[in-house]
Protein backbone atom coordinates (compact mmCIF):
# COMPACT_ATOMS: atom_id res chain seq x y z
CA UNK A 1 0.00 0.00 0.00
CA UNK A 2 2.76 2.32 0.98
CA UNK A 3 4.58 1.43 -2.24
CA UNK A 4 1.61 2.31 -4.36
CA UNK A 5 1.25 5.64 -2.63
CA UNK A 6 4.90 6.34 -3.24
CA UNK A 7 4.74 5.49 -6.93
CA UNK A 8 1.65 7.60 -7.38
CA UNK A 9 3.48 10.45 -5.74
CA UNK A 10 6.39 9.90 -8.10
CA UNK A 11 4.00 9.77 -11.03
CA UNK A 12 2.47 13.10 -10.12
CA UNK A 13 5.91 14.52 -9.68
CA UNK A 14 6.85 13.39 -13.18
CA UNK A 15 3.73 14.96 -14.57
CA UNK A 16 3.96 18.30 -12.88
CA UNK A 17 7.68 18.88 -13.03
CA UNK A 18 7.42 18.53 -16.78
CA UNK A 19 9.62 15.46 -17.06
CA UNK A 20 11.00 15.77 -20.61
CA UNK A 21 10.99 12.05 -21.39
CA UNK A 22 7.41 11.66 -20.27
CA UNK A 23 6.11 14.65 -22.14
CA UNK A 24 7.97 13.76 -25.31
CA UNK A 25 6.14 10.43 -25.27
CA UNK A 26 2.82 12.20 -24.80
CA UNK A 27 3.63 14.61 -27.59
CA UNK A 28 4.57 11.79 -29.92
CA UNK A 29 1.32 9.99 -29.23
CA UNK A 30 -0.70 13.07 -30.03
CA UNK A 31 1.34 13.91 -33.09
CA UNK A 32 0.94 10.43 -34.61
CA UNK A 33 -2.76 10.09 -33.79
CA UNK A 34 -3.64 13.62 -34.85
CA UNK A 35 -1.95 13.10 -38.21
CA UNK A 36 -3.75 9.80 -38.63
CA UNK A 37 -7.18 11.24 -37.85
CA UNK A 38 -6.69 14.38 -39.93
CA UNK A 39 -5.53 12.41 -42.94
CA UNK A 40 -8.39 9.95 -42.67
CA UNK A 41 -11.33 12.24 -41.92
CA UNK A 42 -11.85 13.96 -45.30
CA UNK A 43 -11.71 10.75 -47.27
CA UNK A 44 -13.83 8.84 -44.75
CA UNK A 45 -16.58 11.48 -44.76
CA UNK A 46 -16.53 11.55 -48.53
CA UNK A 47 -17.23 7.82 -48.46
CA UNK A 48 -19.95 8.35 -45.83
CA UNK A 49 -21.54 10.94 -48.03
CA UNK A 50 -21.41 8.76 -51.14
CA UNK A 51 -23.01 5.93 -49.19
CA UNK A 52 -25.80 8.10 -47.82
CA UNK A 53 -26.60 10.28 -50.82
CA UNK A 54 -25.39 8.13 -53.68
CA UNK A 55 -27.47 5.85 -55.78
CA UNK A 56 -25.47 2.82 -56.78
CA UNK A 57 -25.85 -0.90 -56.23
CA UNK A 58 -24.21 -2.60 -53.29
CA UNK A 59 -24.53 0.23 -50.76
CA UNK A 60 -26.02 -2.08 -48.16
CA UNK A 61 -23.26 -4.59 -48.58
CA UNK A 62 -20.55 -1.94 -48.32
CA UNK A 63 -22.18 -0.61 -45.16
CA UNK A 64 -22.35 -4.08 -43.67
CA UNK A 65 -18.66 -4.53 -44.40
CA UNK A 66 -17.76 -1.25 -42.71
CA UNK A 67 -19.87 -2.13 -39.70
CA UNK A 68 -18.16 -5.47 -39.32
CA UNK A 69 -14.76 -3.80 -39.65
CA UNK A 70 -15.60 -1.66 -36.62
CA UNK A 71 -14.65 -4.40 -34.25
CA UNK A 72 -11.52 -5.74 -35.92
CA UNK A 73 -8.93 -6.25 -33.17
CA UNK A 74 -5.98 -3.91 -33.40
CA UNK A 75 -3.47 -6.75 -33.23
CA UNK A 76 -4.99 -8.17 -36.39
CA UNK A 77 -4.43 -4.89 -38.20
CA UNK A 78 -0.94 -4.85 -36.72
CA UNK A 79 -0.27 -8.37 -37.90
CA UNK A 80 -1.66 -7.64 -41.35
CA UNK A 81 0.52 -4.56 -41.75
CA UNK A 82 3.54 -6.32 -40.32
CA UNK A 83 3.27 -9.01 -42.96
CA UNK A 84 3.00 -6.38 -45.66
CA UNK A 85 5.78 -4.13 -44.40
CA UNK A 86 8.35 -6.62 -43.18
CA UNK A 87 11.58 -6.76 -45.21
CA UNK A 88 10.46 -9.93 -46.98
CA UNK A 89 6.93 -8.60 -47.47
CA UNK A 90 5.48 -7.08 -50.63
CA UNK A 91 6.10 -3.54 -49.39
CA UNK A 92 9.36 -4.33 -47.62
CA UNK A 93 11.37 -2.12 -49.91
CA UNK A 94 9.60 0.94 -48.54
CA UNK A 95 11.41 0.35 -45.21
CA UNK A 96 8.35 1.45 -43.28
CA UNK A 97 8.33 -1.12 -40.52
CA UNK A 98 9.04 0.42 -37.09
CA UNK A 99 8.50 3.98 -38.26
CA UNK A 100 6.01 6.66 -37.32
CA UNK A 101 4.67 6.49 -40.85
CA UNK A 102 3.76 2.86 -40.32
CA UNK A 103 2.01 3.74 -37.07
CA UNK A 104 0.09 6.50 -38.79
CA UNK A 105 -0.97 4.15 -41.59
CA UNK A 106 -2.06 1.55 -39.07
CA UNK A 107 -4.07 4.04 -37.05
CA UNK A 108 -5.62 5.39 -40.23
CA UNK A 109 -6.80 1.90 -41.08
CA UNK A 110 -8.13 1.51 -37.56
CA UNK A 111 -10.17 4.72 -37.50
CA UNK A 112 -11.36 4.61 -41.10
CA UNK A 113 -14.33 2.26 -40.58
CA UNK A 114 -15.29 4.12 -37.39
CA UNK A 115 -15.30 7.45 -39.21
CA UNK A 116 -17.19 6.06 -42.20
CA UNK A 117 -19.84 4.35 -40.07
CA UNK A 118 -20.38 7.23 -37.65
CA UNK A 119 -20.11 9.76 -40.47
CA UNK A 120 -22.73 7.82 -42.37
CA UNK A 121 -25.06 7.82 -39.39
CA UNK A 122 -24.55 11.56 -38.98
CA UNK A 123 -25.11 12.40 -42.64
CA UNK A 124 -28.00 10.00 -42.94
CA UNK A 125 -29.70 11.92 -40.14
CA UNK A 126 -29.42 15.11 -42.17
CA UNK A 127 -32.61 15.89 -43.95
CA UNK A 128 -32.61 15.01 -47.65
CA UNK A 129 -34.07 18.46 -48.25
CA UNK A 130 -30.77 20.11 -47.27
CA UNK A 131 -29.05 18.59 -50.28
CA UNK A 132 -32.01 19.28 -52.56
CA UNK A 133 -32.32 22.88 -51.42
CA UNK A 134 -28.62 23.53 -51.89
CA UNK A 135 -28.71 22.00 -55.36
CA UNK A 136 -31.81 23.82 -56.50
CA UNK A 137 -30.41 27.13 -55.26
CA UNK A 138 -27.53 26.64 -57.65
CA UNK A 139 -24.84 25.18 -55.40
CA UNK A 140 -22.51 22.77 -57.21
CA UNK A 141 -22.41 19.22 -55.83
CA UNK A 142 -19.27 19.72 -53.75
CA UNK A 143 -20.64 22.84 -52.10
CA UNK A 144 -23.98 21.15 -51.48
CA UNK A 145 -22.07 18.37 -49.77
CA UNK A 146 -20.29 20.87 -47.54
CA UNK A 147 -23.67 22.40 -46.74
CA UNK A 148 -24.92 19.00 -45.61
CA UNK A 149 -21.74 18.53 -43.54
CA UNK A 150 -22.28 21.89 -41.91
CA UNK A 151 -25.83 20.99 -40.94
CA UNK A 152 -24.58 17.90 -39.08
CA UNK A 153 -21.26 19.34 -37.96
CA UNK A 154 -21.70 18.39 -34.31
CA UNK A 155 -22.37 14.77 -35.11
CA UNK A 156 -19.41 14.73 -37.50
CA UNK A 157 -17.18 16.26 -34.86
CA UNK A 158 -18.38 13.61 -32.44
CA UNK A 159 -17.38 10.98 -34.99
CA UNK A 160 -13.90 12.49 -35.23
CA UNK A 161 -13.51 12.57 -31.44
CA UNK A 162 -14.64 8.96 -31.15
CA UNK A 163 -12.15 7.93 -33.82
CA UNK A 164 -9.39 9.86 -32.10
CA UNK A 165 -10.20 8.26 -28.78
CA UNK A 166 -9.96 4.87 -30.40
CA UNK A 167 -6.56 5.36 -32.02
CA UNK A 168 -4.77 7.25 -29.27
CA UNK A 169 -5.58 4.50 -26.79
CA UNK A 170 -4.81 1.53 -29.03
CA UNK A 171 -1.72 -0.52 -28.42
CA UNK A 172 -1.74 -3.49 -30.82
CA UNK A 173 -0.76 -1.57 -33.93
CA UNK A 174 1.72 0.75 -32.25
CA UNK A 175 3.50 -2.13 -30.58
CA UNK A 176 3.67 -4.42 -33.60
CA UNK A 177 4.58 -2.03 -36.36
CA UNK A 178 5.89 0.91 -34.35
CA UNK A 179 8.29 -1.13 -32.33
CA UNK A 180 8.34 1.05 -29.22
CA UNK A 181 11.58 2.85 -30.08
CA UNK A 182 12.30 5.59 -27.55
CA UNK A 183 12.02 9.09 -28.97
CA UNK A 184 10.77 7.75 -32.28
CA UNK A 185 7.87 5.33 -32.02
CA UNK A 186 7.31 4.99 -28.30
CA UNK A 187 3.89 6.38 -27.51
CA UNK A 188 1.77 6.47 -24.37
CA UNK A 189 0.36 2.97 -24.60
CA UNK A 190 3.53 1.15 -25.60
CA UNK A 191 5.46 3.04 -22.93
CA UNK A 192 2.97 2.02 -20.25
CA UNK A 193 3.19 -1.61 -21.31
CA UNK A 194 6.97 -1.59 -21.27
CA UNK A 195 7.50 0.32 -18.03
CA UNK A 196 5.02 -1.89 -16.29
CA UNK A 197 6.71 -5.05 -17.47
CA UNK A 198 9.97 -3.67 -16.15
CA UNK A 199 8.32 -3.12 -12.80
CA UNK A 200 8.69 0.66 -13.02
CA UNK A 201 5.23 1.89 -12.32
CA UNK A 202 5.69 5.63 -11.82
CA UNK A 203 6.00 6.59 -15.45
CA UNK A 204 3.32 4.09 -16.40
CA UNK A 205 0.88 5.56 -13.93
CA UNK A 206 1.71 9.09 -14.99
CA UNK A 207 1.06 8.23 -18.64
CA UNK A 208 -2.06 6.31 -17.66
CA UNK A 209 -3.33 9.43 -15.92
CA UNK A 210 -2.79 11.47 -19.08
CA UNK A 211 -4.74 8.91 -21.09
CA UNK A 212 -7.53 8.79 -18.51
CA UNK A 213 -7.78 12.54 -18.42
CA UNK A 214 -7.97 12.62 -22.18
CA UNK A 215 -10.71 10.04 -22.24
CA UNK A 216 -12.73 11.98 -19.65
CA UNK A 217 -12.27 15.08 -21.73
CA UNK A 218 -13.39 13.35 -24.91
CA UNK A 219 -16.42 11.90 -23.17
CA UNK A 220 -17.37 15.29 -21.79
CA UNK A 221 -17.00 16.87 -25.22
CA UNK A 222 -19.04 14.10 -26.79
CA UNK A 223 -21.94 14.52 -24.43
CA UNK A 224 -21.77 18.26 -24.97
CA UNK A 225 -22.02 17.64 -28.73
CA UNK A 226 -24.86 15.20 -28.18
CA UNK A 227 -26.86 18.06 -26.73
CA UNK A 228 -26.20 20.11 -29.83
CA UNK A 229 -27.34 17.32 -32.11
CA UNK A 230 -30.81 17.46 -30.63
CA UNK A 231 -30.99 21.16 -31.23
CA UNK A 232 -29.85 20.83 -34.81
CA UNK A 233 -32.41 18.15 -35.68
Amino acid sequence: MNGLLLTTQQALQLLFTGDPELWSIVLLSFSVSLKAILLTTPFAFLVSFALSHGKFPGIRIILAIFNSLLSVPTVVIGLFLYVLLTRQGPFGDLRLLFTQTAMIIGQMILCFPTLVALGYAAIQAADRRVWETARTLGAPPWFSMLTVFFEVRFALLAAVLTGFGRIISEIGISMMIGGNIMGYTRNITTAIAMETSKGEFAQGIALGLVLLLLSFLLTALLSYLQGHKEFAA
Binding site: E132, T133, T136, L137, F150, E151
Partner: protein, 221 residues
Amino acid sequence: MNEPLLVFREIEKSFSGSQILCGVDLSLYPGKCILLSGKNGVGKTILLKIIAGLEIPDLAKIEISGKTNSWEKAVRSVRKEIIYLHQHPIMFSSTVESNVAYGLRFASLNRKQRRESVDEALEWAGLTDVAKKQAKTLSGGVQQRVAFTRAWILKPKVLLLDEPMANMDHESREQTYQLLVRMKSAGMSLVITSHFMQYFEGIVDQHFQLKNGALELKSKS
Protein backbone atom coordinates in the same frame (compact mmCIF):
# COMPACT_ATOMS: atom_id res chain seq x y z
CA MET B 1 -49.99 32.14 -75.72
CA ASN B 2 -46.53 33.24 -76.79
CA GLU B 3 -43.37 31.13 -77.07
CA PRO B 4 -42.96 28.59 -74.28
CA LEU B 5 -39.87 28.91 -72.12
CA LEU B 6 -39.41 25.19 -71.83
CA VAL B 7 -41.38 22.17 -72.85
CA PHE B 8 -41.03 18.85 -71.04
CA ARG B 9 -42.13 15.84 -73.01
CA GLU B 10 -42.87 12.21 -72.33
CA ILE B 11 -41.67 12.20 -68.74
CA GLU B 12 -41.68 8.69 -67.36
CA LYS B 13 -40.82 7.51 -63.90
CA SER B 14 -41.35 4.32 -61.99
CA PHE B 15 -40.31 3.12 -58.55
CA SER B 16 -39.56 -0.56 -58.10
CA GLY B 17 -41.96 -1.68 -60.78
CA SER B 18 -44.85 0.70 -60.19
CA GLN B 19 -45.17 3.32 -62.88
CA ILE B 20 -45.81 6.74 -61.34
CA LEU B 21 -45.49 8.95 -64.41
CA CYS B 22 -46.09 7.65 -67.90
CA GLY B 23 -45.80 10.25 -70.57
CA VAL B 24 -46.29 13.62 -68.90
CA ASP B 25 -46.06 16.65 -71.20
CA LEU B 26 -45.80 20.11 -69.71
CA SER B 27 -45.14 23.51 -71.32
CA LEU B 28 -43.91 26.39 -69.21
CA TYR B 29 -44.62 29.96 -70.30
CA PRO B 30 -43.10 33.13 -68.86
CA GLY B 31 -45.44 35.01 -66.54
CA LYS B 32 -47.93 32.15 -66.46
CA CYS B 33 -49.06 30.02 -63.59
CA ILE B 34 -49.94 26.34 -63.71
CA LEU B 35 -51.81 24.53 -60.97
CA LEU B 36 -51.28 20.81 -60.55
CA SER B 37 -53.76 18.85 -58.53
CA GLY B 38 -54.19 15.16 -57.93
CA LYS B 39 -54.68 12.61 -55.19
CA ASN B 40 -52.06 11.96 -52.52
CA GLY B 41 -49.22 9.87 -53.82
CA VAL B 42 -50.12 10.35 -57.45
CA GLY B 43 -46.67 11.77 -58.23
CA LYS B 44 -46.93 15.56 -58.11
CA THR B 45 -43.82 16.03 -56.02
CA ILE B 46 -41.84 13.60 -58.14
CA LEU B 47 -42.89 15.46 -61.26
CA LEU B 48 -41.75 18.80 -59.87
CA LYS B 49 -38.45 17.32 -58.73
CA ILE B 50 -37.82 15.86 -62.16
CA ILE B 51 -38.53 19.22 -63.75
CA ALA B 52 -36.14 20.85 -61.28
CA GLY B 53 -33.45 18.29 -62.05
CA LEU B 54 -33.47 16.87 -58.53
CA GLU B 55 -34.82 13.45 -59.50
CA ILE B 56 -33.74 11.45 -62.49
CA PRO B 57 -36.57 10.37 -64.79
CA ASP B 58 -36.56 7.03 -66.57
CA LEU B 59 -37.24 8.98 -69.72
CA ALA B 60 -37.83 12.61 -70.65
CA LYS B 61 -37.14 15.16 -73.32
CA ILE B 62 -36.76 18.88 -73.01
CA GLU B 63 -37.60 21.34 -75.74
CA ILE B 64 -35.83 24.70 -75.59
CA SER B 65 -36.79 27.32 -78.20
CA GLY B 66 -37.98 24.73 -80.65
CA LYS B 67 -35.07 22.34 -80.24
CA THR B 68 -35.63 18.99 -78.61
CA ASN B 69 -32.92 17.54 -76.36
CA SER B 70 -32.68 14.50 -74.19
CA TRP B 71 -33.23 15.20 -70.52
CA GLU B 72 -29.66 14.16 -69.69
CA LYS B 73 -28.25 16.66 -72.13
CA ALA B 74 -30.43 19.62 -71.24
CA VAL B 75 -30.76 19.19 -67.50
CA ARG B 76 -27.56 21.05 -66.59
CA SER B 77 -28.57 24.27 -68.27
CA VAL B 78 -32.23 23.92 -67.37
CA ARG B 79 -31.47 23.37 -63.69
CA LYS B 80 -29.99 26.86 -63.49
CA GLU B 81 -33.30 28.44 -64.49
CA ILE B 82 -35.55 26.42 -62.23
CA ILE B 83 -35.97 26.44 -58.47
CA TYR B 84 -38.02 23.92 -56.54
CA LEU B 85 -39.58 24.86 -53.19
CA HIS B 86 -40.40 22.08 -50.76
CA GLN B 87 -43.79 21.73 -49.19
CA HIS B 88 -42.05 22.10 -45.85
CA PRO B 89 -38.94 24.11 -46.56
CA ILE B 90 -35.79 23.41 -44.62
CA MET B 91 -33.76 26.25 -43.21
CA PHE B 92 -29.98 26.13 -43.18
CA SER B 93 -28.73 26.58 -39.64
CA SER B 94 -27.77 30.22 -39.92
CA THR B 95 -29.48 33.58 -39.91
CA VAL B 96 -32.39 34.55 -42.13
CA GLU B 97 -30.05 36.89 -43.93
CA SER B 98 -27.51 34.24 -44.84
CA ASN B 99 -30.25 31.81 -45.81
CA VAL B 100 -31.50 34.42 -48.24
CA ALA B 101 -27.98 35.07 -49.51
CA TYR B 102 -27.16 31.36 -49.96
CA GLY B 103 -27.59 31.02 -53.72
CA LEU B 104 -26.08 34.41 -54.52
CA ARG B 105 -22.54 33.18 -53.98
CA PHE B 106 -22.87 31.20 -57.18
CA ALA B 107 -23.97 34.24 -59.15
CA SER B 108 -21.33 36.59 -60.46
CA LEU B 109 -21.86 39.49 -58.11
CA ASN B 110 -19.40 41.40 -55.99
CA ARG B 111 -19.77 41.83 -52.26
CA LYS B 112 -21.54 45.17 -52.49
CA GLN B 113 -24.01 44.02 -55.11
CA ARG B 114 -24.75 40.96 -53.01
CA ARG B 115 -25.38 43.06 -49.95
CA GLU B 116 -27.78 45.33 -51.85
CA SER B 117 -29.53 42.39 -53.37
CA VAL B 118 -30.06 40.75 -49.97
CA ASP B 119 -31.34 43.95 -48.39
CA GLU B 120 -33.74 44.50 -51.25
CA ALA B 121 -35.03 40.93 -51.07
CA LEU B 122 -35.51 41.07 -47.31
CA GLU B 123 -37.48 44.24 -47.75
CA TRP B 124 -39.49 42.72 -50.60
CA ALA B 125 -40.62 39.89 -48.35
CA GLY B 126 -41.01 41.97 -45.20
CA LEU B 127 -38.26 40.04 -43.44
CA THR B 128 -35.99 42.95 -42.54
CA ASP B 129 -36.94 42.75 -38.86
CA VAL B 130 -35.93 39.12 -38.52
CA ALA B 131 -32.84 39.32 -40.75
CA LYS B 132 -30.42 38.55 -37.93
CA LYS B 133 -32.49 35.81 -36.31
CA GLN B 134 -31.63 32.13 -36.59
CA ALA B 135 -33.88 30.87 -39.37
CA LYS B 136 -34.63 27.55 -37.67
CA THR B 137 -36.14 29.29 -34.66
CA LEU B 138 -38.85 31.04 -36.68
CA SER B 139 -42.42 29.88 -37.21
CA GLY B 140 -43.37 27.75 -40.18
CA GLY B 141 -45.07 30.60 -41.99
CA VAL B 142 -42.06 32.88 -41.72
CA GLN B 143 -39.73 30.03 -42.75
CA GLN B 144 -41.86 29.59 -45.84
CA ARG B 145 -41.37 33.25 -46.66
CA VAL B 146 -37.61 32.91 -46.15
CA ALA B 147 -37.67 29.99 -48.58
CA PHE B 148 -39.57 32.11 -51.11
CA THR B 149 -37.13 34.94 -50.70
CA ARG B 150 -33.98 32.88 -51.09
CA ALA B 151 -35.45 31.58 -54.34
CA TRP B 152 -36.81 34.90 -55.56
CA ILE B 153 -33.48 36.66 -55.04
CA LEU B 154 -31.95 34.43 -57.73
CA LYS B 155 -34.56 35.52 -60.28
CA PRO B 156 -35.20 32.07 -61.71
CA LYS B 157 -37.25 31.81 -64.87
CA VAL B 158 -39.31 29.00 -63.36
CA LEU B 159 -40.43 28.49 -59.80
CA LEU B 160 -41.93 25.18 -58.70
CA LEU B 161 -43.96 25.35 -55.51
CA ASP B 162 -45.02 22.22 -53.72
CA GLU B 163 -48.14 22.89 -51.63
CA PRO B 164 -46.96 26.40 -50.76
CA MET B 165 -49.89 27.16 -48.49
CA ALA B 166 -50.41 23.93 -46.63
CA ASN B 167 -50.51 24.51 -42.87
CA MET B 168 -50.72 28.26 -43.17
CA ASP B 169 -53.15 30.50 -41.37
CA HIS B 170 -55.26 32.99 -43.24
CA GLU B 171 -52.84 35.86 -42.82
CA SER B 172 -49.77 33.94 -43.99
CA ARG B 173 -51.76 32.69 -46.97
CA GLU B 174 -52.67 36.23 -47.86
CA GLN B 175 -49.02 37.33 -47.64
CA THR B 176 -47.88 34.35 -49.66
CA TYR B 177 -50.52 35.02 -52.27
CA GLN B 178 -49.23 38.56 -52.66
CA LEU B 179 -45.68 37.28 -53.10
CA LEU B 180 -46.88 34.87 -55.78
CA VAL B 181 -48.70 37.62 -57.64
CA ARG B 182 -45.55 39.72 -57.65
CA MET B 183 -43.40 36.83 -58.83
CA LYS B 184 -45.79 36.13 -61.63
CA SER B 185 -46.00 39.73 -62.75
CA ALA B 186 -42.20 39.86 -62.71
CA GLY B 187 -42.40 37.29 -65.52
CA MET B 188 -41.65 34.12 -63.62
CA SER B 189 -43.26 30.92 -64.74
CA LEU B 190 -44.96 29.31 -61.75
CA VAL B 191 -46.00 25.72 -61.22
CA ILE B 192 -47.95 25.09 -58.04
CA THR B 193 -49.16 21.79 -56.67
CA SER B 194 -52.08 21.99 -54.31
CA HIS B 195 -55.19 20.28 -53.13
CA PHE B 196 -56.75 23.67 -52.53
CA MET B 197 -57.59 25.33 -55.82
CA GLN B 198 -59.56 28.06 -54.12
CA TYR B 199 -56.36 29.55 -52.63
CA PHE B 200 -54.97 30.25 -56.07
CA GLU B 201 -57.96 31.59 -57.93
CA GLY B 202 -56.96 34.72 -59.73
CA ILE B 203 -53.41 33.74 -60.54
CA VAL B 204 -53.80 30.31 -62.12
CA ASP B 205 -53.81 30.26 -65.94
CA GLN B 206 -54.00 26.52 -66.45
CA HIS B 207 -55.17 23.77 -64.16
CA PHE B 208 -54.04 20.20 -64.72
CA GLN B 209 -54.94 17.10 -62.82
CA LEU B 210 -52.37 14.35 -62.55
CA LYS B 211 -54.17 11.05 -62.94
CA ASN B 212 -52.94 7.60 -63.91
CA GLY B 213 -49.50 8.99 -64.64
CA ALA B 214 -50.56 11.68 -67.10
CA LEU B 215 -51.83 15.25 -67.03
CA GLU B 216 -55.43 16.07 -67.76
CA LEU B 217 -56.33 19.66 -68.56
CA LYS B 218 -59.11 20.75 -66.21
CA SER B 219 -59.42 24.42 -67.04
CA LYS B 220 -57.74 27.21 -68.87
CA SER B 221 -58.21 30.94 -68.69
